[in-house]
């Protein structure tokens, strides 16, 4: 039997406002418990929510960036359920009139194909607090600092057909919200959370199968693994004649499995109704026009521009533009150094990123800033140093705060491009390796690499590689 997987994602992006969606408490992460929870966040009697303008603006920017319909009149609703970290007994959300309607994003898949994924809607809502279950015997601790933090819940159509497609889509949304600076995208801190609705059906079947919703996935890697596990589980059930039940399942990264959390039939009677504490939100066309002006160049457009203007290969352009900070770094380094786009791209995504990864650092925390990095690229571009020496220079810049020029001068690493000096080294190598010279001249041309190595060694890596190759061939063939 041939099975087809159907996936839709619900992404909660925490909006990067300073204050909460309905109160003037801070949204900073990591504060002492309950020090950023005021009377509104605690659900005290008699308080009224007042909507944060910035949260509305951010939602509209998202609509503009995803070609989505704007809800010019949207309404907040109460979603009712009981849980200790939701002190009011309801979450303020949006139901029938969300602020963002239908939209779509283009997602580039592994094979280079572009797939359009539909967005059903995106709505504003408040986050709940956090419960701590394991610190007290028989009791649960509640921290309400997160309660009232603004979220944009982004709901996709069930358009994805594999875990890989789902991850590509999630990465795309992640990239967009970071580009337009409405969310910091930090998955570890829970600022960007993905829930996946997963079902399987026989190929060719029109109806969707019964779906399970997977929660608690805090990285793209886990998202892919959780979906793959869930697909296998559902296929096993169906192939052995069983039935998939609609439920919420938690992903356990340690065991790499999903586990039933609660059956949805009973729990999902949320009895939504319009929140009488909040009036309808009306968005003026003039505001939309104004926000449109503030949008930066988006990843797709930037990628296309880098490919067209700079002739960057598609892969390089995609890697560089996936993250706005990377793209900004790349373009600044390119401008400041005057080097070729390919050199800048190779060094940003290769040498720079591998060092950042190794040290577990973000680009914004890089020990070598864009100015010093440009200095290094410039010295490679003008042939002061070779790529090989440049790696050594970068290592020393990493730990020191020195510029590339300072390291090159201190260590005497300037490339030798004086042909007489290189010729002299070649002559020495030829003189001390008579038997290899004989073999080479007898036709063993592979030995050229050996001679290049010897001369490089003699120059302590500083000989200009192009010149060296040319001069060496001349001398050996003469």
């Amino acid at each position: 039997m041939q099975w087809e997987t159907v996936i839709g994602l619900e992404i909660h992006a925490q909006l990067a406002t300073k204050s909460k969606i309905f109160s003037a408490s801070s949204t900073d992460f990591g504060a002492e418990p309950n020090t950023q929870a005021n009377a509104v966040d605690l659900g005290m009697p008699g308080v009224l929510p007042v909507l944060n303008r910035e949260a509305v603006h951010m939602a509209i920017k998202f609509a503009l960036a995803t070609d989505a319909d704007i809800g010019y009149r949207s309404v907040f609703a109460r979603k009712n359920y009981f849980y200790p970290d939701l002190p009011k007994g309801y979450q303020i959300s949006q139901m029938s009139l969300p602020i963002v309607g239908r939209g779509s994003v283009d997602v580039t898949l592994d094979d280079g194909a572009v797939k359009k994924v539909g967005l059903t809607r995106a709505h504003l809502e408040e986050d709940a607090g956090k419960s701590v279950h394991d610190a007290w015997q028989g009791q649960t601790g509640v921290d309400l600092n997160r309660a009232g933090t603004p979220l944009l819940e982004i709901v996709s159509e069930p358009d994805m057909r594999s875990a890989k497609e789902a991850v590509a889509y999630a990465r795309k949304i992640h990239s967009i919200v970071r580009y337009i600076e409405i969310c910091d995208g930090n998955m570890q801190e829970g600022s960007f959370r993905c829930d996946a609705n997963v079902s399987v059906r026989l190929s060719g079947e029109k109806e969707f199968g019964t779906r399970a919703e997977i929660k608690n996935v805090n990285s793209f890697r886990f998202l892919e693994r959780a979906i793959n596990f869930e697909v296998e589980r559902q296929i096993d059930i169906l192939e052995s004649g069983g039935e998939v039940i609609q439920e919420t399942r938690l992903y356990d990264a340690d065991k790499d499995e999903t586990r039933s959390m609660r059956s949805k039939e009973e729990a999902n009677d949320y009895r939504y109704f319009p929140d009488p504490d909040l009036l309808p939100v009306v968005v003026e066309q003039s505001l939309v026009e104004q926000l449109k002006q503030t949008l930066p160049e988006l990843p797709e457009a930037r990628k296309a521009r880098l490919m067209q203007e700079l002739k960057l290969p598609e892969y390089d352009a995609a890697v560089i533009t996936a993250d706005k900070a990377t793209a900004d770094f790349f373009e600044s380094a390119l401008d400041a150094s005057g080097c070729t786009a390919k050199l800048a791209s190779t060094w940003v995504t290769g040498e720079l990123f591998s060092r950042l990864n190794k040290d577990g650092l973000d680009l914004s925390e890089s020990p070598v800033d864009v100015e010093r990095f440009s200095g290094l690229l410039a010295r490679m571009h003008d042939n002061t140093i070779s790529g090989k020496i440049a790696k050594q220079v970068l290592d020393q810049m990493w730990g020191s705060g020195s510029t590339a020029d300072e390291v090159i001068d201190q260590e005497g690493l300037r490339q030798i491009s004086d042909s007489s000096e290189i010729e002299k080294m070649i002559d020495d190598v030829i003189a001390t390796n008579p038997s290899q010279v004989e073999e080479y001249r007898a036709g063993k041309e592979k030995l050229l690499a050996y001679f290049v190595g010897q001369v490089m060694k003699a120059s302590r890596g500083k000989a200009n590689p192009g010149q060296l190759n040319e001069l060496l061939k001349q001398k050996l063939n003469s």
């Binding site: 406002t17 300073k18 204050s19 109160s23 003037a24 408490s25 801070s26 002492e32 418990p33 309950n34 020090t35 950023q36 929870a37 005021n38 009377a39 605690l42 007042v50 909507l51 944060n52 303008r53 910035e54 949260a55 509305v56 309404v75 009712n80 009981f82 849980y83 200790p84 029938s96 009139l97 419960s131 701590v132 279950h133 610190a135 007290w136 028989g138 009791q139 649960t140 601790g141 509640v142 921290d143 309400l144 938690l250 959390m261 609660r262 009677d269 009895r271 319009p274 009488p276 909040l278 009036l279 309808p280 939100v281 009306v282």
Partner: protein, 95 residues
């Protein structure tokens, strides 16, 4: 639409209300009456009427994104039955 005893029990559970068993049938009858009253509205053609989310025609006012609240944890926690290390403690809940 009539509300039966099963529905009363379900709604009570969702609202976390404890209802005396002998009162269930009474509540079912009373709730059915309320709904019957509301059902007269179904006789009116409302196809041209825009759904109303709020009785006034005003629109939501927005506030600037500024943090003006200070930490009042101590004051708030005075009315909590149990707190520790800054957390509110409640009977254990496990999903």
């Amino acid at each position: 639409m009539a509300v039966d005893e099963k529905t009363v029990a379900e709604v009570a559970h969702l609202a976390r209300l404890q209802i005396d068993g002998e009162l269930v049938s009474e509540y079912a009858r009373e709730m059915s009456n309320v709904l019957a009253l509301a059902e007269t509205m179904n006789d009116i053609d409302t196809s041209d009427v825009e759904p109303m989310a709020h009785p006034t025609h005003a629109v939501q006012r927005l506030r600037d994104d500024a943090v003006t609240e200070t930490n009042q944890r101590e004051a708030f926690q005075q009315c909590a039955p149990s707190v520790e290390a800054g957390y509110y403690l409640v009977p254990q809940v496990i999903e």
